[in-house]
Amino acid sequence: MSYRSTVKAILFRLSIVVFSCFFVVAVASAQEGRAIFNQKCATCHALDKKVVGPPLSGFESKGPWSDRQKLYEWVRNPFAFREKDAYVQNLIKEYNGVVMTGNADLTDAQIDAIVDYINNPPVAKKPDTPGEQKVPESDNTLLFGLLTLILAVIALTLLQVNSNLRKMSDDKEGIPAQEPVPFYRNKMYIALTIIALFVLGGYLTIQGAVGLGRQTNYEPEQPIYYSHKVHAGINQISCLYCHTGAQQGKQALIPSVNVCMNCHMAVNEYTKGPDLYKADGSQVNGTAEIKKLYEYAGWDEATQSYTGKGKPIEWVRIHNLPDHVYFNHSQHVVVGEQQCQTCHGNITEMDEVKQFSDLSMGWCINCHRTTKVQFDNKFYSIYEKFHEDIRNKKIDSVTVEMIGGLECQKCHY
């Protein structure tokens, strides 16, 4: 290992240590606890009502839970703990023998954070306006247009002045003046106008043709008003919790209804989040949308059971690639370590999803030109030459283009 990479490695490890200390001390807050709670617990627990498991508000006053050590033990291995605690055994009996799933991977600090969150849930505040206060983007089009117009007028005036001056000098020298031609019959002006119109028309036609079949900003109405902002933004549910395919294969996958029901068995009303509005401005009743989900899932709220009469949801597909394009999510998410937002935009701010990128070939290619490959993946060890070039400092990184990312048969076969 070279000196440089040794230093790098040490720095890296040091930063991890520093970061973890920071984590334990500062991040063990209710805020962090909520994220962990949503990820690990919310499937079966709510704070103030009975779901699959008991409500958690004020749980520390019950049973053995004032003893934090016992709590740790229970969370990590409920089956072992069950054997030695009568309170827990009764509780399990009350809940039809269902034992909590163990979370062996949670650290003490993380469990503390969850408890913090349970004890001090943040008070949901409702924003007053539906949208956010938008900072008006600086748009220079008007300015440039005005400038162009002024310049054009000046140019025309100058041309006119020029021709007047020539006429005057001609008069002076006694050359007989030609009959003045009005500008609309001046061949020069007509030719210029035609050329300008031709260029503009051609430009618009080509732009239109290129745009055929592209659907940037496509935001169709969906069978259920599903807000990514509420789920991924406010509640910070990981994208991969629902879109499991993104790590496994080609399609990211729209989750099946049973995945929705993992949480929505418990979350049966929409009360705390901001008001929801459709693209046309009409307000949406979140609770009614959840009922729609129950309809699809065949979930009977009264009996808390499935009727068996469910049907799949026919979502409108937003991101369409032509059939002759091969795209694989896992290649980009797992291997390339790309963020979902790179292609899908700031999804956590969108209520109903709209298409962010134009998904054109040029757009793919441009990204492949500039994006750096995660070259520490051992697979790339077969690129001996590039590794040598990096060692010799001929290049500092490898882009997707350099390993053939622009070639036809990377995506078309």
Binding site: Q251, Y296, P312, E314, H324, Y383, Q409
Partner: protein, 1049 residues
């Protein structure tokens, strides 16, 4: 001009005018723009046509521009099964079973649809090769066959009428079934089914079970009964044999378990520096079979002499028999040769015979006994169970039916009304049967005559088991829910015998009891097989009691100078049960290279005698003369194909053709049904006959054969072949030749790759894909062609288009004849098979000429083809030296939005078989990872780039570059002889690197290397274990480069 050593067709051999024209024209016709073929400018109204085209395209563009994007739906599961990721393939172990044949498989399932099957590499039955045959590869298409019955039917006045409920049909049958119940099936080797059948007959004790095979192996079964006391077929071990003698047995193509034998055979013929040994294969036959084409030495005899040949071998080996004298000197020499090789390899030789005459097989058993094969190359520890039908039982059944003593006939997977020689007798008897029920999957020749058809599931929809050899159990598990309202025939049998268990439960219970637990069964299903850990080879006690009688029967020379007929199976269609499979119909026959037909193969001598001129009209323009034969009193008109290597007095006709309408669109009326020509003699079906008269008719018939397509522009031979002796003497011949080439073209550096060119040298920083094909292991069976078709959605074009050289196969197997100067015929013929696919040249001539850069090179050495960029100039195909690029002359796949693109000028509509492939049902077989090509674009082999990309992704996800060593192209995976090796040449640990640079360096060569296109496919020269002169005798190999220049200039 010097006569060619290796030639594909007569035009090439004689260098005729028509052939010269063929070489000049890459495409055999002009652009199909104008009907009268005068060219665009001379046409009647080019201006108006032009305006029409312009108007149409403007309108089309306007419409396209005005259309909105359609709203597409994305519908996830309601409840997603946890183990399933949509878009990712799943693999299930299952088993191919057809007419007793058993091949353990792994089926690839994409989003619920099985789309590809390959041999199970864990099974000894596939020789651990994972290979399979063309028919197995194509069987996945049979699942989506449009001719399958979609519900049970009752035949009313010859018309099928749907019976909506199984209960209704069961009730009706319960009222009618009874009396003498006969269950007629092809060979049953499923243990659980056998138990179902025995329970069924416990209820109907008067009945019986008759097994009937379309192609009879009764002779060998009866002979083994006489010689070994067992009515069974032993397992053969060609890998253990140093001497293999084939007597009319096409064991590499169609005889018994040919894919298993091919693996074993190839194992004995692999040759490398460490081991300069290979087996010796001598074939005695009357026609040129696939096996004969691979033999080291071949001797011709008439079918009537097969007994005499066997007896002569036996007598010379010291058997106590008197052998009739043979006239043919060459044949006698061949027998002496065979005998001397057997004598010097006692205990390591194997004699197999394809005859269905028990007498001949008894003699063959005696030979094997003397040769010490019993217990060395022939094993009785796990005899084969694939063919159990005995001819006399079937004959008895037909007699009983005719006499009216059969009241109920149940038929499963048997079609005697089509493939029994006495089909008329069978039909007559069937009319007298009170209740007849067929479980066949379609209203074929037999089922159409039954009272009811209750279709059985396809094997990919079924639970089941099979015992291909005793104690070799293979399991079936469904890879898809039944597509149609079909039912296990076992369930019907159970129901009718009063047991309401479904066969699925019955099967599970049967095996849970046997294996002890449900988890054991699940494990067995996951493995797909339960086999002994290794082969055990044991002998069976032999008795020569029947030999004397058999010898006198076999020795009786029948027939005189008359013409004899051999009825053979084609490698593609086999018995003809899968005749409605367009992939198989369009697969060129390995020998004749013909598609979509059967015909009479005759020798050149006979053609001369019939006054048939084998000129350009015959060869280049493919109008084949028609000959009328009188065979057994039946008058048959057949087109002829003259084939070198046929016995002068023998003609060959393939069975399996001439199916009825009920068999399906692709099979209907293709070719002629030759089964009625099969002779029943002494109770046995014999696949030989005599033609008492023959005459040439005036008409001609077009046979779509691909022999003259894709020629190498007259360049020198691309195959290399040596005799074993020559190779041992000078193993570095090829190495020297290549060094010579380097010296010539790069005199300073001798670096042929980099310095023999004007073009820049490219680097391949990561992977550099390459393939090596061993011509010594390639048997020409064509499994790779079909595997490629299945993997890459290669379209079927139909006979009319093949006739116009429009076939689309990405991988063809070129068949070369090699002969010596004046002797182009008979037993002095060598045949070499050479798989030819895109060579992925690193200096590719096709890439330079594409005006739109639709074909270009990747940094991994792939010659890429971007279909959406292609504008169809076809310059690339013109400039390809190997002729491996294919043009979509019409919309064969139905992929275009314009329906008119399926019309083609000249032939009008495409053949019905093409439309069969375009049905929604059939299209379910398409591989979703590969684009379906539309009209007007070029396509070709991609090295299965979808598999390469997938393998790389897997390796990246696992963080392990060695994983890409596992990648297999479809052709490589399907090859049962492991002739194809593929991998990353930059990786010094890969198989391909080792084969090219270490193990087989001396046999490695590139096709047309001297034109410096730098192919990524290398070949290993063929070695033939013979004393005859092989290859180019005059030692003119060294001037290859100069010769190439001459051919060029």
């Amino acid at each position: 001009m010097e006569q060619k050593k290796y030639w594909q067709n007569l035009g090439e051999l004689n260098n005729t005018e028509g052939y010269q024209k063929l070489l000049n024209d890459e495409f055999q016709e002009d652009l199909p723009l104008v009907e009268d073929r005068k060219g665009l400018l001379d046409a009647k109204a080019p201006r108006r046509d032009f305006l029409k085209y312009v108007g149409f395209s403007t309108a089309a563009a306007a419409i396209a521009a005005g259309c909105e994007m359609p709203v597409r739906k994305s519908i996830p599961y309601l409840n997603k099964p946890e183990s399933l990721t949509p878009g990712e393939a799943q693999y299930y172990a299952t088993t191919y079973t057809a007419e007793g044949e058993v091949v353990p498989l792994v089926a690839k399932v994409r989003d619920g649809r099985p789309i590809k099957v390959d041999g199970n590499p864990d099974s000894l039955l596939t020789g651990n090769s994972g290979g399979s045959s063309a028919r197995v590869q194509a069987s996945v298409l049979d699942l989506y066959d449009t001719a399958r019955l979609r519900y049970p039917v009752e035949m009313v006045n010859g018309e099928p009428k749907e019976v909506p409920l199984f209960d209704a049909i069961d009730k009706k049958i319960a009222g009618e079934i009874g009396g003498n119940v006969v269950l007629l099936t092809s060979t049953v080797n499923s243990p659980s089914t056998k138990q179902v059948i025995s329970e069924f007959f416990a209820k109907f004790p008067a009945g019986r079970h008759v097994q009937y095979d379309a192609i009879s192996y009764s002779g060998i079964l009866e002979a083994n009964q006489a010689s070994y006391g067992k009515r069974a077929i032993p397992s053969y071990h060609f890998d253990k044999a140093k001497v293999i003698i084939g007597l009319d047995a096409d064991f590499l193509g169609t005889w018994l378990s040919s894919e298993e034998f091919a693996t074993q055979y190839a194992a004995g013929r692999k040759i490398d520096d460490a081991n300069l040994q290979m087996s010796k294969h001598i074939q005695f036959e009357g026609i040129l079979s696939l096996t004969g084409a691979n033999a080291d030495d071949r001797f011709l005899h008439k079918p009537s002499e097969s007994g005499a040949v066997a007896l002569n071998i036996l007598a010379k080996l010291g058997g106590n028999v008197s052998a009739p004298a043979l006239q043919d000197e060459k044949l006698k020499k061949g027998i002496d040769m065979a005998v001397s090789f057997i004598n010097s390899n006692k205990g390591a030789s194997l004699v197999v015979s394809g005859s269905n005459d028990p007498a001949v097989q008894v003699v063959v058993n005696a030979i094997n006994e003397l040769a010490g094969s019993n217990g060395t190359t022939i094993s009785w520890s796990n005899p084969a169970q694939t063919k159990l039908g005995v001819d006399s039982e079937m004959a008895q059944l037909v007699a009983d039916m005719k006499s009216g003593s059969v009241q109920t006939l149940l038929i499963q997977e048997a079609n005697p009304a089509y493939n029994y020689p006495d089909a008329e007798g069978f039909k007559e008897g069937l009319a007298k049967v009170k209740l007849s029920v067929s479980f066949n999957d379609r209203a074929d020749e037999t089922s159409a005559l039954c009272n009811y058809i209750i279709p059985h599931h396809h094997y990919l929809e079924s639970w089941g088991d099979a015992e291909g050899r005793t104690a070799f159990i293979s399991f079936q598990q469904p890879t898809i829910s039944p597509l149609f309202k079909t039912r296990y025939f076992q369930t019907s049998l159970l129901k009718w015998s009063g047991n309401n268990t479904d066969y699925e439960d019955y099967f599970r219970n049967y095996w849970i009891t046997k294996l002890g637990s449900e988890s054991a069964l699940d494990q067995a299903l996951q493995n797909g097989i339960m086999e002994p850990a290794a082969e055990t080879i044991t002998a069976a006690p032999y008795s020569d009691a029947g030999l004397a009688e058999a010898a006198s029967k076999a020795g009786a020379l029948k027939g005189g100078e008359g013409l004899e007929v051999v009825l053979y199976q084609k490698v593609s269609l086999g018995s003809g049960a899968a005749a409605n499979n367009p992939w198989l119909q369009e697969m060129p026959d390995p020998i004749s290279r013909a598609t979509w037909d059967n015909y009479a193969m005759i020798s050149y001598d006979l053609a001369k005698e019939l006054n048939i001129k084998l000129d350009d009209h015959y060869e280049v323009e493919v109008h084949k003369p028609v000959v009328e034969f009188t065979i057994d009193g039946k008058v048959v008109e057949l087109p002829i194909l003259a084939i070198p290597g046929m016995h002068p007095r023998v003609i060959a006709i393939a069975v399996g053709y001439g199916r009825s309408e009920g068999a399906g669109i692709a099979a209907n009326a293709v070719g002629y049904n030759a089964y009625p020509l099969v002779k029943i003699e002494g109770g046995n079906r014999k696949y030989v006959n005599e033609a008492s008269a023959y005459k040439k008719l005036s008409g001609t018939y077009d046979i779509a054969y691909t022999q003259t397509h894709n020629q190498y522009e007259g360049r020198k031979e691309v195959v290399k072949e040596y005799s074993l002796a020559d190779y041992k003497k000078n193993p570095d011949h090829i190495v020297h030749e290549r060094e010579h080439l380097a010296k010539d073209f790069a005199p300073k550096t001798h670096n042929f790759r980099d310095d023999a060119t004007l073009y820049p040298v490219y680097e391949f920083p990561g992977a550099h894909w390459g393939m090596s094909i061993d011509l010594n292991a390639c048997m020409g069976c064509g499994a790779c062609t079909i595997a490629c078709t299945a993997e890459n959605n290669v379209s079927v074009v139909g006979k009319s288009e093949v006739l116009r050289a429009h076939e689309m196969h990405w991988l063809r197997i070129d068949r070369y004849y090699a002969s010596y100067r004046d002797n182009t015929e008979g037993d002095n013929l060598n045949v070499v098979f050479m798989p030819m696919l895109c060579q992925h040249c690193d200096n590719a001539p096709c890439e330079n000429v594409c005006p739109v850069s639709a074909t270009n090179h990747s940094t991994e050495g792939l010659n890429q083809m971007a279909y959406n960029r292609c504008i169809g100039t076809r310059y690339c195909a013109n400039n390809c030296p190997y002729k491996v690029r294919r043009f979509n002359w019409a919309d064969y796949t139905g992929a275009d939005s314009f329906g008119d693109n399926q019309k083609t000028t000249g032939v009008g509509k495409l053949d019905p078989a093409v439309f069969q492939m375009n049905e929604d049902l059939t299209r379910m077989v398409l591989n979703p990872d590969v684009t379906v090509r539309s009209r007007g674009v070029i396509e070709k082999c991609s090295f299965c780039v979808q598999r390469l990309q997938d393998a790389k992704l897997k390796a990246k996800k696992e963080n392990d570059p060695s994983l890409i060593r596992d990648v297999k192209t479809a052709c490589m995976q399907a090859c049962s002889t492991n002739a194809i090796v593929f991998g990353n040449v930059n990786d010094k640990e890969s198989r391909i690197y080792k084969v090219r640079n270490e193990e087989q360096k001396r046999r490695t060569y590139y096709a047309l290397e001297m034109i410096h296109v730098l192919p990524n496919v290398s070949y290993l020269a063929k070695i033939r274990n013979t004393d005859r002169p092989v290859g180019v005798v005059n030692g003119s190999h060294a001037n290859e480069a100069a010769a190439a220049e001459n051919a060029h200039g």
